[in-house]
Symmetry: D2
Subunit: 347 residues, 4 copies
């Protein structure tokens, strides 16, 4: 039997509709750097989907790059970005925010989430500290939706965070690397228009959501980031053949594909969660999107690793480990059933 | 008649063999970040083509990003990079080298080229200056092959520059954004193995040479850049679906495609140059690759612009302008003949 | 009655022997940038005091600047600096390390101190993490002696930390902003020669230890930091009239002054501690140098503030606050007795 | 005979009135970081001298540091600073501007001076360039008064540059490292109030103008640089014992001292220039302040070097060299006459 792949949601190529468009348009000649008609069309569709007719939309290549570019453009030199200790920018982006000159002000998290209360407490402490001028000012807030733990902010949670941001005049930025999986989750109530209404900048993930690569940055009020094109260039994030990104987002926002594309992943994850519980496994915690965190005995884990790719998450105790299974837009029922069979057989 | 496109060499999609491979492999599951089998295969083929069996090969996304990442990894904090005033890093990369903390030490150029003599004179002046410790030390040399003017370094010129680099202990780095057009030019005598022998790092351009995107960094002696993977990540230059880059370079280095892919561009450029001269146009200067620089009367230029896309290069005098026509791997005989007809008719 | 000052150890000018030397030498003409005879003499005396005849000694202006310059010179682009969460670089240097492109990898502390164990655990976790190449590598360790809490590393603690640094190939750097107060503390067993033997770089604080300004960086093996002069310049840390620093350190290292200069502060602090305990105050924790941390009722604190300058440290609970009294080389018996009288009267 | 010193204007200590004040105030206790009464008094006097009652005045330590801090605070990430190729920031600050992430856009100079015309031409070219979004935007202008060649901008020249800055919305910043020598030059018509009226930020040099160290940054409209205190800290440019700077500028602005302190240098330089011409030397060019540039035969130069310290400036031809003599506030008639005698005897 071939090995199963549940290690991540970027292990396949692209949604077939994207490949088809690539082929159809391959020898068309267009201008570069995102000034082509594919990009324009994609921008219009994204603005419509977000109900943000004035928004600037920029196409960048990857998530780490996008975070660094947007955060670097928003912050003043004397400011840092508030983020969860588990946030992607805090841990797994090799210090790119610091390379850009800014401190990540990391706060404890609840399964990947910040709370309005903890952000407010941090800001209040800073602004009341007599030595604050010797310290890094909290200048913006970074959230991931879904988070690195697969959890979701509810609309009311996000509105509360927005209120704290307003109180302390901090732009709010959302990393949507896996946004399609949020949008496809039944419990999600933060729609694209809600995001565009509540945050100052966010990106719609392509790489993990059916594109070959690419992330679409949405800036509802473009006055926030003047000359952002040059900032993008200066971060090495401007693609010469920008059409490659425009075309993919055009496809992803045609016929509502982006809202649908995460569904198979969510359904597969739900099946897997039920199967795991039924088979007597313990979930490390519950999460409503395409990532499943399971506590395995170390022996189990080793046996499973021979037959399926998954991710090490963290040590649980001396004899157990938390591992992550990720489903994707491309996960088939067959894949899911094979994994369920494996899991049922294993313990 | 449709408008002709001679503005650049990144106006089409990708070589058909690349699209074909994309389609064939789309739903295969692979690991991320360049650790997949496509990348490994491409690396092996590139090492073989460069006769550099020990070389490290990294796949990055675009040229500006690649320059910033490699240069940032090579330089010590107190050093800058020597480059031609016309070099891409000196002018058209939005200051990304400076954003990374380093000065571009720009020297006058001869149609885009530096000379061993001028580099040596600069270094000698620096090392003899009593105040040199208050100045930026020249820490490496950046060349483009072909240059931004479409010109080529000969093997002997490059060997001379290598000798100066050795004398002053400076790594030598070559930006090969358009390397395929150098390799396809009849007058070129700097082969891939010669590059790998003479320079400390170079990149083989994909974006402008038939790929959708991507550049392959070759480091003949990997000890030059320890932990380069993390540096790449830290520059936002690590692609999650690295397979997309590996697969393309695998295709470009299968059956010697990379050595052949620039030929149509060179042949088209030669035809156009002859036709231009015959039709009484003045070339601004001669260049042996896929870029042609013509001095047009301003009126001519404006009339032509209605029918063909080309690039403004620089003002020549009050009534004339230098413009650039670029051919590409995808330029057809039909395109070339249409442009020749237009040019013949215009004046 | 005039207000008493126990807010910090940089509230006076300089030790009289320094002013005297300034006056005697004022119109002498010397070369700039630390190349003068005063600097040379000071360097020799510091090397002798540290028993480090090969050491490079550089004079910089202030502590934050010194930390940024040394740390920026040591770290590779992909590395960060391990420090206590309470470390000066972690909190009170306005993000200067991040401005220089590096992450502060902050660990929990025990009254300002790191332990060999916690550093080792952190490094082990990093080096065993399968995703470590996406993370910032721990590249050096930063300690303060005394710490920001006035506590001291013992010789054996520092040797243990040195061993961990060796194991993970990390240079060890010590911030000695208040080093004179460590050297004057009876319980201290980390002498200057011990520091020079155990660490890769440290600085001998002048600003808080009797100089008008200035810190002396000692690099026992100068090969660690080639071209450090240029790095200093590039950090804006090179003083034109370097003699001003050389002269002061020459005075501080004449007749063992630096070893003696902290004594009055330590004696005053001991008296104050005893008096506080006797008067029924609670110390927040014990610390053996020139800083005293007391838990005051908020009302007490407010009354005291009218008569004496001290520092807010942190909220203890709703009705109590931790405050800091700092003594200095210039604290007189009179000052100390006045404060003791005030404290005795207050509650 | 003792060697003469004409190498620079920072070879002595401080003006006697400064040392006197240091001594008088040495054991007074004050708050740190520039919040003391000495700093406040100095600020008031500087505001009065500049006729800029609303100005923010910050005291920093040295010139390179000041340039980096102010320029870093003014520029947006996508901008660079326009400066003469001979500007201190372009050549002799070890790349500190680039370390801060910004390109120095250097223009040809006329004996150290930029012209309104050349700045305008540069800006016009930038703003008309179709590729400007791929380039660094000129974001501010840096001038030195006097320049590195000892030359001066006239009031009308500075007004013209101001007009160009207005046209292209660029703040104008003046490096006044040697400002006292401009103010003391008979031909100067740019007073402190004129500077405060015409520029957005400038600094009044202390280090080279009679202080031990220190530069006073004047920002006529403080809204230009919010949270500048933190930026200063973040550049390692905040002095703990800020009083040391405040006290010195207080002395320099008491009884108009700063306007008078450069006079002895100017008078000495005038005498030396006349004597040199009379003795048959060639001046490399004329300059009205405290620096004199002479073309010496190489043999002459070597003989002179045994008896007097001066600076190498540049090679003139194979047999001649341009050298610089600098006078200072502390140059005595005796020094000047000794040098004149030497020069008369030499050829």
């Amino acid at each position: 039997m071939e090995k199963l792949f549940f290690a991540s949601d970027y292990q396949e190529g692209a949604h077939p509709s994207i490949l088809k468009r690539l082929e159809e348009t391959n020898l068309m000649k267009t201008a570069g750097y995102g000034t082509d008609a594919f990009c324009d069309a994609a921008r219009e569709k994204i603005r419509a989907a977000c109900n943000a007719p004035e928004a600037a939309v920029h196409f960048l290549v990857g998530g780490t790059q996008t975070n660094a570019t947007v955060i670097g453009a928003i912050l003043k030199p004397y400011q840092g970005v508030v983020a969860a200790e588990s946030g992607h920018i805090s841990v797994h982006e090799a210090g790119i925010i610091e390379r850009g000159g800014h401190k990540v002000l990391s706060l404890p998290h609840d399964h990947g989430k910040l709370t309005a209360k903890s952000i407010e407490a941090y800001c209040e402490k800073y602004w009341k500290d007599a030595n604050r001028e010797h310290m890094v000012m909290p200048g913006m807030v970074y959230l991931s939706q879904p988070t690195e733990y697969g959890t979701l902010y509810s609309l009311s949670e996000m509105e509360e965070i927005r209120a704290v941001c307003d109180k302390y005049r901090m732009p709010l930025y959302v990393d949507g690397a896996r946004l399609a999986y949020a949008l496809a989750a039944p419990e999600n109530d933060v729609t694209l228009p809600a995001l565009a209404r509540l945050v100052d900048a966010f990106y719609i993930g392509g790489t993990k959501c059916g594109a070959l690569l690419g992330e679409a940055v949405v800036i509802p009020d473009p006055a926030l980031l003047p000359h952002f094109f040059t900032v993008v260039k200066q971060h090495g994030a401007l693609l010469a053949k920008g059409r490659l990104l425009g075309l993919q987002f055009d496809a992803l926002f045609t016929d509502d594909l982006y809202r649908r594309i995460g569904k198979p992943a969510i359904e597969a994850a739900e099946k897997l969660r039920s199967a795991l519980i039924e088979a007597g496994y313990r979930l490390a915690f519950d999460s409503p999107t395409n990532q499943i965190f399971v506590i395995l005995k170390n022996g189990e884990m080793e046996r499973l690793q021979e037959k399926v790719e998954f991710s090490f998450w963290e040590k649980y105790d001396e004899t157990h480990t938390v591992v992550r299974f990720a489903t994707s837009w491309a996960t088939t029922e067959n894949d899911t059933e094979s994994l369920m069979a494996l899991l049922a057989a294993n313990p």
